[in-house]
């Protein structure tokens, strides 16, 4: 394992410290307990929006703290959800009195820790709503399992719900639009290589030179199955197929196409995947109204990508286009 780090156990601390220094115009960093808030939080009268989860998915979530997106982010240890003693003060700091929405990726750890924190924050007088993101079609959705994972769709939920909070929607409305995004987005990922968690020191799974993992998440967990290496178009076909089968869009639907890099994939390759995904969507009669291509929710240095398709309505499109000013996503300002 070669990484640009000092002590494997100081990775999150030092990285968040650097992030805070580089983006001091946007964010305030609390180191202990660790959470990152918008410089101007809480915005009077506006709903607060928080997300968090294990570290290692940068720029998620700290990179999305700022105008028009998150009010606060709560990073845990690498691939480990944060604890209530971080989430509670972040929730309180994000609350202007209008309440706080927790955007939680559907993993047992995240759910349990945010659940506890929400309960305790409510006990301290903060109204909390939770949007559970579970867009990963690689995982079977069932009452008898942990359910689908929250992956690429999280970024879209944060952007669109963030814009709703910024325009002054109330607590239930912000949670509802976040939920609507989640209900209309599906994601599927592939890994060409594993990633190495700093404290583990060895890759999270093994792949030979001609194997890939289809249906991976963002934690270096193995996917649903290994298949022999294929070309980019073939892989993209395999990602889109379950997305469309599950989303069941109608011809004429407008969509946002999000091709996300897992951390170790060159931008040029993401655009090759984008090209093919776009061909498939257009062949299905869909209009790609908006696009996002890049490393937005990663698994350390994993090579691979995920593709997300979000069925848009006019309100979602307008909220997507609304100004955003964060370290990792910025437009209109």
């Amino acid at each position: 394992m070669k990484k640009l780090i000092n002590d494997p156990r100081a990775v999150v601390d030092e990285s968040v410290e650097g992030f805070g220094l580089a983006h001091a115009d946007l964010v305030t960093v609390s180191m202990d307990p660790m959470f990152i808030t918008r410089k101007d939080a809480p915005a009077p009268g506006k709903v607060g929006l928080i997300s968090g989860g294990g570290s290692g998915h940068e720029p998620l979530h700290a990179g999305y703290v700022g105008l028009g997106m998150l009010t606060a982010a709560v990073p845990g240890a690498v691939f480990t959800s944060p604890t209530p003693d971080q989430i509670i003060p972040a929730t309180i700091a994000a609350n202007s009195g209008a309440g706080v929405v927790h955007i939680v990726k559907n993993y047992t750890g995240d759910v349990l820790n945010f659940e506890t924190a929400a309960e305790m924050a409510q006990a301290e007088g903060v109204e909390v709503r939770t949007v559970l993101v579970n867009d990963d079609v690689a995982v079977e959705d069932s009452l008898y399992t942990a359910g689908r994972r929250g992956v690429g769709g999280t970024v879209l939920v944060e952007k669109i719900a963030g814009a709703a909070a910024e325009r002054g929607d109330d607590l239930d409305a912000v949670a509802a639009i976040g939920q609507r995004v989640n209900d209309n987005v599906r994601t599927m990922g592939v890994a060409l290589s594993a990633c190495t968690v700093p404290h583990a020191g060895v890759p999270s799974f093994e792949l030979t030179e001609d194997e890939i993992e289809i249906g991976i998440g963002i934690h270096g967990e193995p996917g649903r199955h290994k298949i022999p290496m294929e070309n980019a178009d073939g892989i993209t076909d395999r990602l889109l197929e379950p997305i469309l089968a599950d989303l069941k869009p109608s011809a004429g639907d407008k969509v946002l196409l999000f091709v996300n890099g897992m951390g170790g994939t060159p931008a040029s390759e993401l655009y090759i995947v984008y090209r093919r995904a776009r061909q498939i969507l257009e062949a299905a009669g869909l209009t790609v109204e908006r696009s996002l291509v890049g490393n937005y929710i990663t698994a350390l240095e994993m090579q691979g990508c995920s593709v997300s398709v979000l069925r848009l309505d006019d309100e979602m499109t307008a909220l997507w286009d609304a100004p955003v000013h964060t370290a990792a996503l910025r437009w209109g300002v």
Partner: protein
């Protein structure tokens, strides 16, 4: 087997022995979690129990219940992930169950273990056979109850519980996970031991060793 009284000293020794055994098994637990999860279980548990030991250097709980509560709060705030709230809840429910008693008799001990297990189930909603830590805790609770009913002393009750937990952990090997991160793997999760069940067995064994008089 004649053991220690199950008092605050025992509870503290249990926590310290747990910290030592978790630290020793850190890589093994990471490795188990790497196979069917995200490779952090050993790191998470080690961070949490190291924090408990640090806390114990600052304050000395006067009762087993106080020790359990200290453990619960520390695990809840330092571990994160699934294991943090689950173990945190387990110790918290055990603390509530034992109240302020200075020592636990075998029945109270068995009751505390059952409360801990029930807490895990309440939070995580896993059933027996879902390939989670419940698969270690449940047989341990049953074994403890039987032993206590049969008149065993505290050390013997814990020995039975630890043995059952160890068997329960081993028995997760062939299972297909239905809860937690391993469930994403579907059938590929079979053939691997559940890391949370493995750590639960280690911790229950530490309880038995503390009761048998082993110092931390």
């Amino acid at each position: 087997m004649v053991g220690q009284p199950l008092d605050a000293a025992w509870a503290i020794a249990w926590l310290k022995l747990s910290a030592a055994v978790v630290a020793e098994n850190r890589l093994r637990l990471i490795e188990l979690d790497r196979s069917i999860g995200d490779g952090d279980h050993g790191e998470n548990m080690d961070r949490g129990f190291a924090a408990i030991v640090a806390k114990l250097a600052e304050e000395t709980p006067a009762t087993p219940g106080a020790a359990f509560k200290l453990a619960a709060m520390t695990l809840m705030s330092k571990v994160g992930g699934a294991a943090g709230p689950l173990y945190g809840t387990a110790f918290l429910r055990a603390a509530t169950a034992v109240g302020e008693s200075a020592t636990l008799d075998p029945a109270a001990l068995a009751g505390a273990l059952a409360a801990a297990r029930d807490g895990v189930v309440a939070r995580g909603k896993a059933e027996l056979g879902d390939k989670t830590m419940v698969d270690a805790w449940s047989p341990a609770v049953d074994a403890a109850a039987s032993a206590a009913a049969a008149g065993a002393d505290g050390a013997a009750v814990l020995d039975a519980a630890a043995e059952a937990a160890e068997a329960g952990a081993v028995a997760t090997d062939p299972l297909t996970a239905r809860k937690g991160r391993a469930s994403y793997l579907g059938e590929r999760s079979a053939g691997h031991r559940d890391p949370g069940a493995a750590s639960s067995a280690l911790i229950l064994r530490a309880a038995a060793r503390a009761a048998a008089g082993e110092a931390a």
